[in-house]
């Protein structure tokens, strides 16, 4: 059986953000939620700010690139079950990942103020 993987036009290049830890959410609805800001310093170090935490990470190239696939079910030929029932379309390629391994630093907001 062949599960075809199709290239559907131009695909983007994405990157993985790998965190050593968990992301916790207050609400159960976690779609389309703002997580944090990702910045790069002048030297290229990625900085991720999540809530009150600042994370310093590094960017690396994946040894094997990943492809992000979208499963697509074809309802066209229901009779021919073996033919083209399901196919995958490449959404994006992932060649790099940004990895945040270090312990996050807290952002202190109510600093004692000198006045």
């Amino acid at each position: 059986m062949i599960v075809p993987i199709k290239k559907d036009g131009e695909f983007e290049e994405w990157a993985i953000i790998e965190l050593q830890g968990d992301l916790k959410f207050n609400s159960t609805n976690i779609t389309n939620v703002y997580i944090g800001d990702l910045h790069f310093t002048k030297s290229g170090t990625p900085i991720l700010i999540i809530g009150i935490h600042v994370l310093h990470g590094k960017e690396m190239v994946l040894p094997k690139p990943f492809a992000v696939l979208v499963k697509k079910k074809n309802e066209v030929n229901t009779t021919n079950i073996f033919e083209r029932q399901t196919e995958y379309i490449i959404k994006a390629l992932i060649k790099r990942k940004i990895i945040f391994r270090s312990r996050p630093k807290p952002i202190v907001t109510n600093v004692p103020k000198f006045n």
């Binding site: 959410f25 703002y34 800001d37 700010i49 935490h53 312990r103 004692p112 006045n115």
Partner: protein, 882 residues
């Protein structure tokens, strides 16, 4: 016997009374020597006195012990153990019946003593016993006869014997002795080791006895011989000797006639003393004896009226007993005997000299090894285990790294390689004196050393002194040299002792003429020589040179360029040596002016043609400043120092100018002089909130002024380990003259308060600036939804990032929120936040909660997991893929 002579002095009186009696008897027989006997008596008296002084009461007993021990040889094998006090016991127990004759003839014991002494030399086989009266009588008679012989023939002999009697002992004596073993009976005998004084006495007595120790005729022949030899000697000298002589010994005269002791040193006495004093300061650490006290005592009564007394104690010991300057640096032109001086002084002070010179490896590593080896170890096996003294010859050739190492080592900052044990570092402080020797103390590599070392510059040896020494050498070597030639030699060599002696040896003294040229060691006419040439009146043996020659000499000296440096040196040194006449000085100063003008013209217009006129200024300076005596010159460092200071001040001014925007001239003239007064208001040293309104105003004003001029106080450690605040571009230095005290300075605590206020004010200003900026930004983007996920928001925040700071925008936003509450007044002393107002406090709390909420309102947070992230493998079934 002891009972008869209870007191040793009495005993000797008695002994000698007997002798006098005998002598008187002898006098009857020998009338022709009547005069002499008086002398003998004197002599005897003298001897007696000597004896009493020498406290020799137990000679008699010793001798008695000798005889008795001899007598008891069979009974007591180890005779050396016999002690006089036990004599009687021995007699009583062992020889109860067989008593020795001298027990009964106690009074003539001295005669028998002589007998016994003779006995020591020429052993008698047998001693007479009491039960054999004839033999005793015979012995007594023999003894008398012998005694007569002694006193008649040569009374010296008797003296000699006396000496001997004092010189021989069977017990371990209290004087210096040599132990001998008598081969006959394995008896240990101790002989006195005489010193020279005693031998002198002996010769004296010799002459007394015979008027002349040697017959007149013999003396006469000897004298004649000496005369003949002298004549021969003289004739030899005149005829032909030098060539053969020099061939005979291949030792260099420089080594042969090197000074062997401190006294023989040619160099200046004060220099020698300086170095010796310095090295003696080490006594405390090296030999653990106090030198300073001795020295002071000496100074007090010995050298009071001498020139040494006004020599200040130029350095003392520090708290640990080390001399403050731990290195001595000897500098001076070559061939003056610096090395010799260092060696001799070190030896004189009881050190073993370890020398490192240019021929040894002096890379830092090798250097470190030698340093450690020579200063921390000590010869144990050698025949004189003295502490080492390190002499670093020709140090100006050593690499700078090595010199740095030496300095670190001497200051005890050298960390032992490999181990960094703090406790051990104390051991690596230099415990031995280090003497460095160089020709040119102003070599750049020696700069650091010069700052810490005790510098002794060795001056030139005076020509006459050196010529005298050369004369002495040539006399010893039997060279015929006239003193004029020697003086000339000295002059040509520039008082270089080494080259003089070398020349003397190889020229053989024959053609010490004018056309003599040396291969001088490192001879280089430096600036100092040129200055000396100009500032000293040249003298030859006919007195002061004529004026024309002097002018010629000066012009010749100046010709080889560097006239600017030369003039600087003269300008630097003239106040020390100039005469009292002010008009001369004024004249010379005019010439300095002339010099400067010409130099300026040359510099600005490139008119090199007027350059030669510069040289004539030197002639004038020479004529008016030069002195006949030896002068001490110093290097003109003022110009350099001033340049550095100027650069520093300009630096301060430019920084202040950049901050305040004032002109430099305005700063120096109008502002800087008053700043010290403006910046030191009267403040009490109490905590901030206790200050009165006036004081608060003062502080505010002060802080504002400081910020406006861009000044800060910076905490610095003082020399005595205390902290102090220093103004950061230290504009006080410009405003006040270095020797003036500030009229009023702030004390440390006040400065502390000011610094805190300063920091607070600075923060406040920065915040204000940011606030105004963000306000304008807000005006531009009047209503922005803070929808962070949308592109517009991020671009907005990014813009703010670009505008203000490079901080991430989440922070930025939080700051924005905080900023609205920023106009609250805080009092802050211990670094804690104290709000003045209760309501504001609440507001603040609200704010902080608000800002916190802002960060967390997105309801996403991050939980970090320590350790490794486990790769998770999950099985995927095919059916899910399909």
């Amino acid at each position: 016997m002891e009972s008869e002579f209870p007191d040793p002095n009495e005993e000797f009186d008695l002994v000698h009374e007997e002798e006098y009696e005998i002598l008187k008897e002898i006098e009857e027989f020998e009338k022709k020597k009547g005069t002499e006997s008086g002398k003998i008596e004197n002599l005897q008296e003298e001897q007696k006195r000597n004896k009493l002084n020498n406290s020799r009461p137990n000679v008699h007993e010793e001798l008695n012990a000798l005889t008795s021990s001899k007598y008891n040889k069979s009974c007591i094998p180890s005779t050396s153990k016999v002690i006089p006090s036990t004599n009687n016991d021995n007699f009583d127990t062992d020889v109860t019946k067989k008593r020795h004759y001298d027990e009964f003839f106690g009074d003539i014991s001295d005669m028998l003593d002589t007998n016994d002494l003779a006995d020591i030399q020429e052993p008698k086989d047998k001693k007479p016993r009491w039960d054999e009266p004839q033999e005793i009588i015979k012995a007594v008679l023999d003894a008398r006869e012998k005694f007569n012989e002694y006193s008649r023939g040569v009374s010296v002999n008797s003296k000699y014997i006396k000496d001997k009697r004092e010189s021989i002992s069977l017990r371990v004596p209290h004087w210096n002795f040599i132990a001998l073993t008598r081969p006959r009976d394995a008896q240990r005998i101790y002989l006195r080791v005489k010193n020279d004084e005693q031998s002198k006495i002996k010769t004296n007595t010799h002459s007394i006895s015979n008027l002349l120790s040697v017959p007149y005729s013999q003396l006469k022949t000897e004298a004649e011989e000496i005369i003949v030899q002298n004549v021969k000697h003289a004739s030899c000298e005149t005829s032909h000797l030098p060539v053969t002589k020099t061939l005979e010994d291949d030792e260099l005269w420089v080594d042969k006639y090197r000074p062997r002791s401190y006294i023989e040193l040619l160099s200046d006495e004060s220099v020698n003393r300086q170095l010796l004093h310095w090295i003696k300061l080490w006594d405390k650490t090296v030999f653990n004896r106090n030198y300073i006290d001795n020295k002071k005592k000496k100074l007090n009564f010995k050298f009071r009226n001498r020139k040494f007394a006004d020599e200040k104690p130029f350095q003392e010991l520090d708290s640990k007993g080390f001399p403050i300057q731990r290195i001595a640096l000897l500098s001076g032109p070559p061939g003056l005997g610096k090395t010799t001086l260092a060696h001799l002084v070190a030896k004189h002070a009881g050190y073993n000299v370890v020398e490192i010179n240019a021929s040894d490896e002096r890379s830092p590593d090798a250097f470190r090894q030698v340093l450690l080896a020579s200063t921390q170890m000590k010869a144990v096996i050698g025949n004189d285990p003295r502490p080492n003294c390190l002499v670093l010859d020709e140090i100006d050739g050593a690499p700078t790294a090595s010199i740095d190492l030496l300095l670190k080592f001497v200051q005890g900052k050298l960390i032992p390689k490999g181990k960094k044990d703090k406790t051990k570092t104390d051991k690596h402080v230099c415990h031995r004196p280090v003497i460095c020797i160089c020709n040119e103390p102003y070599t750049p590599s020696l700069r650091a050393l010069r700052a810490t070392a005790f510098i002794i510059s060795v001056p030139e040896v005076s020509a006459t002194k050196l010529a005298d020494r050369l004369m002495e050498i040539s006399r010893k070597e039997k060279l015929k040299v006239n003193s004029d030639a020697l003086l000339r030699l000295v002059e040509i060599s520039g008082c270089d002792i080494r080259s003089c002696i070398g020349a003397l040896q190889y020229m053989g003294g024959v053609n010490l003429g004018d056309n003599l040229s040396f291969a001088l060691k490192d001879s280089r006419k430096g600036l100092f020589d040129s200055w000396k040439q100009i500032l000293k009146i040249p003298v030859n043996r006919n007195g002061i040179l004529p004026l024309s020659e002097r002018v010629q000499l000066v012009l010749r000296t100046v010709q080889n360029g560097e006239s600017e440096k030369l003039a600087q040196g003269i300008f630097h040194n003239y106040p020390e040596i100039c005469s009292d006449k002010m008009n001369y000085i004024a004249l010379c100063l005019k010439w300095f002016q002339f010099f400067d003008e010409i130099l300026f013209l040359v510099g600005s217009l490139q008119t090199w043609s007027i350059m030669p006129y510069l040289n004539y200024a030197f002639v004038f300076w020479h004529l008016y400043f030069a002195k006949a005596r030896n002068i001490k010159l110093s290097y003109p460092s003022i110009v350099y120092e001033m340049n550095q200071k100027h650069a520093k001040n300009i630096g301060i001014l430019t920084t202040v100018q950049r901050n305040s925007g004032h002109n430099k001239i305005i700063l120096t003239v109008d502002i800087a002089p008053f700043l010290p007064d403006l910046l030191s208001p009267q403040l009490r040293t109490v905590s901030g909130h206790l200050h009165s309104d006036k004081e608060k105003n003062d502080i505010n004003r002060l802080v504002n002024v400081l910020i406006d001029f861009g000044l800060t106080f910076i905490q610095e450690k003082n020399f005595d380990e205390r902290y102090d605040y220093k103004l950061d571009p230290n504009i006080f230095e410009i405003g006040t003259f270095p020797d003036c005290k500030y009229r009023r300075t702030l004390i440390y605590a006040v400065k502390q308060i000011i610094v805190q206020e300063l920091e607070a004010e600075r923060l406040r200003r920065v915040e204000n600036a940011i606030k105004s900026m963000t306000k304008s930004a807000q005006n531009k983007k009047s209503i922005t939804n803070h929808n962070v996920t949308t592109n517009s928001a991020t671009s907005d925040s990014a813009k703010i990032c670009n505008n203000a700071t490079s901080k991430p925008n989440a922070l930025e936003q939080s700051k924005k929120l905080q900023m609205e509450t920023k106009d609250i007044k805080y009092k802050d002393f211990f670094g804690r936040t104290i709000t003045v107002n209760q309501g504001e406090q609440k507001k603040l709390d609200k704010e902080s909660i608000k800002s916190r909420n802002f960060l967390t309102k997105n309801s996403v947070w991050y939980k970090y997991k320590e350790g490794f992230s486990n790769a998770v493998r999950r099985n995927v079934k095919m059916i899910d893929l399909l």
